[in-house]
Amino acid sequence: MANSMAKSFLQVAATEEVVSPLRVVQIEGLVILKIIKHCKEFSPALVTGQLLGLDVGIVLEVTNCFPFPIREEDEEIEADGANYQLEMMRCLREVNVDNNTVGWYQSTILGSYQTVELIETFMNYQENIRRCVCIIYDPSRSNQGVLALKALKLSDSFMELYRANSFTGEKLREKNLSWMDIFEEIPIKVSNSALISAFMTELESDTPVTQCDYDRLQLSSNPYMERNMEFLIECMDDLSVEQQKFQFYYRSLSRQQAQQQAWLQKRRADNMQRKAAGEDPLPEEDPSNPIFKPIPEPSRLESFLITNQIANYCNQINGVSGQSFNRLYLMKSLHDN
């Protein structure tokens, strides 16, 4: 382990200049267990924690993590949270653990994580750390026998736009950015030291099936589907609100254009008269006039996020229903046998 790490260090030193894209997030088994433990214990509350590790070329290694304490509503203890974080880092350094922040993890319910807050946090992290990931764990999904773990990062083009804060239709078209291009999912690779792997093999029982496999056969997917539906409905409502914003925008825009046209017409007529009278024409634009003040176009960010969310829910429903069908067919064939 230490050996490989040293090599990694060398690699980093060698390729420092070249910015290579992040390809893989390599997580220690221990970290995963810690995340799962933390998230599960507090479910359905949502929790967050810090990821520590190393950034090595195309691989981001996550070697450790620690949870943030759950804080009360009071905002004033925010400083405490920061202190805790710093203190924790210091302690870890003292015991010689990797203490580079590489991102954070958070739990979610049914994959509803695509929010503006997440993006803001991302941008905040991005200021200090060039490469950071967010690991999202969904305890409710894990109940169905799946390891619902996701590593996310924001796409570069999106970040650019976000920094410029220009989510107008034109810019989006220019960048060719659609709702799918906001988040990038990075494959996760779980790595364990050889010792741990050997120990695990030792521990592994002889039974062909595990508890996890039993979980997978659970037939009741209804509550899960229902909640997905509910969230979908909520999303629809949000989307219509967004849509209304746009409709309103277009309506006021067309009204403004009509006003501008009328004004221009009048000004031109005036100018003709002035020309006839031998006077200088007035300028055809009048920036002080309120009707020339551009109406801000509503941001598309929210609707993009909602669309993302919807896609997420749809995927989940798709996946779960597919699995359910599989199980049903399995049961059927079992019965037939």
Partner: protein
């Protein structure tokens, strides 16, 4: 001090005071304070003479004394004239008028004393002189000038009363001035007729009744008229053989030119023209004059809102008939209003061969006559005998219209003929067969009797002096087909062939109305739908819209009578949606609480009211509407009891029901609404018998012709709907339900129940199946899982979203694709289908868990975050989420109602 002084002086002046008082009594009452000085002088003057005569008061008679007074005033006036003092002259004039009154009272005679007349003449002359002398007028002081003008007015007004006497007086002493003066006076006299007098005259005329040509009551113009008459007689009568076309034409032109002038008496003109018709030399001339007579008769009409006096109207009709007589007799005479005919066109005699063009427009006259008839019916109180009398004149008009139409058809003017035909249609279309028969009978009976009278009268008025005798060629008796349908068919076919757009539309509506009246629902419906009238009725004029509303109401009633409840409701619900039925049908002015009408609007509305005999009974209409709504809505409510808001068929009915349910105590039903509400309550419980009894107790049913069959139908319908309601309401309580039991409960035959229930099964309103061997209905307990319900909800949201997306695209592309509304409707239909299909629509299921979860999330995300995460941890669920979806669906519902309103006619018979 002052009082002391007064009291002291009191005894001294007592006598004088009394005298002054006397004087005041005599003449000073009307004097103005402005002229105080003058009056003072006059008074003292007068009192002087009075005083001097005081001794003789006992000896002289009161009469003499008054005359004396008058004479002295005249003297004063003379003095005033000499010094050109118009102020005092004016006062004296007032005084002399007062004195005249007293004199007249004392002498107790109608004769005005000569002294007075003489004075008037004198004044008049002086006035004319003063007016002529412009130089002097300029020099006058302003008060004097003012007085002169006032005097001029007063004198003119005053002299009018004594015109004749003045003339007589003038004739004696100074005869050479007569002519000029005469003319002058005539002019001035008539010019200054004050409006009240005119009104009095015209009202007198109204009351007068039949004959207004030979005996007139009122004074002023009557005398003048007689004078004119005399004049004319002098001109024409003295030498009948000498009357030429030219003289008549000249006189005619003169009279016509006076038309519309301020001073021209309207009746007078009619009289003059009528007289001229008698002396007309050629038929064409007679025709021309007759047209003018009719125009003049139209002028008699006092205002836009008032109607023409009935006797004038009748005369008008007679004149029209005479015109037709002439036209029939001399086919070479052409009536035209396009070209201005030659000046001497009418000179051509009866034996002239070529066409003679006479200016005139028969159709316009006829329409005007009809309008006047309509207006008179609007104005007359429908509960009086007068109204009935007036209605009897209808055949008279129909004769005229028929004749005009025949004439127009003969000369090939089909377009005008169509217009006339429309007028006839509009008099017939609302009459049921019974009324039509009655009218026919009346026409046959009364015409015989009346005709003689009319003829003799016509003969009388025409007298022996008519030069152009017109035989009655046109029939004076209407010919009605046996059946009003036949008449309608003939007229309507003509209109469809050659009428213009509006005429056709109106004729179509009348046709629809008539068909509906005769219970031919399918024909009426087909006509309505084929003509596409409902698409563009908004662009037509108000009276056509009213006709449309009337036709719709009648079609609705018809649908109800033939047992098509849904169609009936479809026709009527629109009328009742706004609560302005009266206004929509023009059967009364409805008062709106929130919106004050301007007087102008109110007048307009009053002008388009339907006469009483054309009304559609509003109670019957309301009863039919509410019963239709009840029959549709009660099962519907029972079917959708879970979600009352959804799928409302009749909003009006729902609202009424809510109101009646809110009442703490429901008394016995009083009006139509109460009855239907009581019936609804019974029907909701499935008690068909009680519901029917309540409905049956309404007394509007006696208005129906085939009452028995309609009630029979209604009973069957109520039973059926009661059964449906019962099944909807209690299906969840049953596992199985025996056919026999239902037969017993609802008093329906097996086959009927079987068909009703089967229909419900097919429509997926009821989740059950028949079990034939045991004659049972087996209910399937179908309940949606939560997941399915949510899926429904989601589809609805999606459809809303898709719809607004489309709208956004539409706005972006600038209004567009024709397929959009269609697709939208499909969506709605689909949504409605999914909604109605289950028979139970999921209400807004509480999102208990989801909400909790997300709000929990909101609480937790605030915690334990690093610097970066900590800020602005607002969760999405925290956003204000206006429930736009709900509002949207509500709107959609109303849209659907609107789109379905006319289409509902199209749909097949339900039930």
């Amino acid at each position: 001090m002052a009082s002391k002084f007064w009291t002291q002086g009191g005894s001294d002046t007592e006598e004088e005071e009394t005298d002054i008082e006397d004087e005041i009594e005599n003449g000073g009452a009307g004097e103005t304070t402005a002229a105080a000085a003058g009056s003072r002088y006059l008074q003292t003057n007068a009192s002087d003479s009075d005083d001097s005569d005081g001794q003789k008061r006992v000896v002289r008679s009161a009469k003499d004394k008054r005359f004396e007074e008058m004479a002295s005033t005249v003297d004063q006036m003379k003095n005033a004239m000499k010094i050109n003092d118009w102020v005092s002259l004016q006062e004296s004039f007032d005084k002399i008028n007062k004195q005249l009154e007293k004199v007249m009272r004392v002498t107790e005679s109608d004769r005005v004393p000569n002294l007075y007349i003489k004075c008037l003449v004198m004044l008049e002359d002086f006035l004319a002189e003063a007016l002529a002398n412009k130089e002097a007028k300029k020099k006058m002081s302003s008060s004097n000038h003012k007085a002169l003008n006032a005097m001029k007015q007063k004198l003119k007004k005053n002299n009018k009363q004594y015109e004749e006497l003045i003339n007589k007086y003038r004739e004696n002493p100074e005869s050479e001035e007569e002519k000029f003066e005469d003319e002058d006076e005539d002019e001035s006299g008539s010019e200054l007729e004050d409006p009240s007098q005119i009104a009095a005259e015209s009202s007198d005329e109204d009351d007068e009744g039949e004959d207004m040509d030979d005996d007139d009551a009122d004074g002023a113009w009557e005398k003048k008229l007689s004078k004119k008459e005399k004049l004319m007689d002098r001109e024409f009568k003295k030498d009948p053989s000498e009357i030429t076309w030219d003289t008549v034409n000249k006189k005619f032109k003169e009279v016509v030119a006076a038309r519309g002038r301020k001073g021209t008496g309207k009746f007078e003109q009619v009289e003059q023209l009528t007289f001229l018709t008698k002396v007309a030399k050629t038929p064409a001339q007679k025709l021309e004059i007759l047209f003018s007579v009719i125009s003049a008769q139209f002028d008699v009409n006092p205002g836009l809102s008032g109607h023409m006096p009935i006797n004038v109207w009748k005369k008008c009709v007679q004149n029209m008939l005479v015109i037709l007589d002439i036209l029939v007799q001399y086919p070479n005479i052409v009536v035209d209003d396009m070209v201005e005919p030659d000046e001497n066109e009418t000179q051509k005699g009866a034996d002239y061969d070529g066409t003679i063009r006479v200016w005139g427009n028969l159709v316009a006259f006829l329409e005007r006559i009809d309008n006047e008839f309509f207006k008179s019916l609007q104005c007359i109180d429908p509960h009086t005998r007068e109204y009935v009398e007036r209605l009897r004149d209808e055949p008279l008009f129909l004769v005229l219209a028929q004749n005009v139409q025949e004439y127009l058809e003969r000369i090939g003017d089909l377009k005008s003929a169509a217009k006339v035909a429309l007028r006839r249609v509009e008099l017939v279309y609302y009459k049921p067969q019974e009324v039509y028969d009655a009218m026919r009978k009346l026409a046959e009976l009364s015409e015989d009797g009346e005709k003689d009278g009319d003829e003799t009268k016509v003969e009388e008025t025409r007298g022996t002096s008519a030069f152009v005798v017109t035989p009655e060629l046109v029939s004076r008796k209407p010919t009605f087909p046996e059946n009003s349908r036949a008449l309608m068919d003939i007229l309507v076919t003509l209109i469809y062939k050659s009428g213009d757009e509006r005429t056709k539309a109106r004729a179509m509506l009348c046709d629809i109305y008539h068909h509906a009246l005769f219970d031919e629902f399918s024909i009426a419906r087909d006509l309505l739908l084929m003509s596409h009238l409902q698409d563009n009725i908004q662009h037509m004029d108000v009276s056509t819209q009213i006709l449309f509303n009337r036709a719709m109401a009648q079609v609705g009633l018809c649908a109800f009578r033939v047992g098509l409840i849904a169609e009936g409701h479809g026709c009527l619900s629109e009328l009742y949606s706004g609560g302005r039925v009266k206004e929509l049908l023009a059967q009364g002015v409805s008062q709106s609480r929130y919106h004050e009408k301007t007087p102008e609007q109110e007048r307009l509305e009053r002008r388009r009211q339907m006469p009483y005999h054309m009304h559609i009974n509003l109670e019957l209409l309301e009863a039919v509407h509410l019963i239709c709504a009840m029959l549709l809505e009660v099962p519907n409510m029972a079917a959708n009891s879970l979600d009352a808001k959804r799928k409302v068929i009749s909003k009006t009915f729902r609202r009424l029901l809510e109101v009646s349910e809110r009442q703490p105590f429901t008394g016995p039903p009083e009006n139509v609404r109460d009855h239907v509400m009581a019936a609804t309550r019974a029907l909701c419980k499935g008690d068909s018998q009680k519901a029917f009894d309540i409905i049956n107790s309404l007394d509007v049913w006696k208005l129906l012709r085939n009452r028995e069959s309609v009630l029979e139908m209604l009973k069957a319908k109520i039973k059926e709907e009661a059964l449906r309601t019962y099944l909807f309401t209690y299906c969840s309580s049953y596992d199985t339900l025996g056919l026999d039991q239902l037969t017993r409960m609802f008093d329906l035959s097996d086959a009927q129940i079987h068909s009703i229930v089967s229909k419900m099964l097919v429509n997926e309103e009821l989740h059950a199946s028949w079990d034939q061997p045991t004659r049972c209905i087996i209910f399937h307990d179908v309940e949606y899982s939560r997941l399915q319900a949510l899926a429904f909800q989601l589809t609805e949201k999606l459809s809303i979203l898709a719809e607004s997306n489309e709208r956004a695209v539409e706005a972006r592309t600038g209004g567009g694709g024709l397929d959009l509304p269609l697709r939208r409707r499909d969506n709605q239909e689909y949504a409605a289908g999914t909604a109605g299909g289950g028979g139970g629509r999921w209400p807004d299921l509480s999102y208990g868990q989801g909400r909790q979860g997300s709000s929990g999330r909101a609480a937790y995300t605030g915690g334990g975050r690093p610097l970066a995460l900590g800020q602005a941890s607002r969760d999405r669920s925290g956003q204000s989420r206006g429930y736009s979806g709900r509002a949207g669906s509500g709107m959609r519902g109303s849209q659907m109602d609107a789109s379905a309103r006319m289409v509902s006619l199209n749909r097949g018979v339900r039930g």
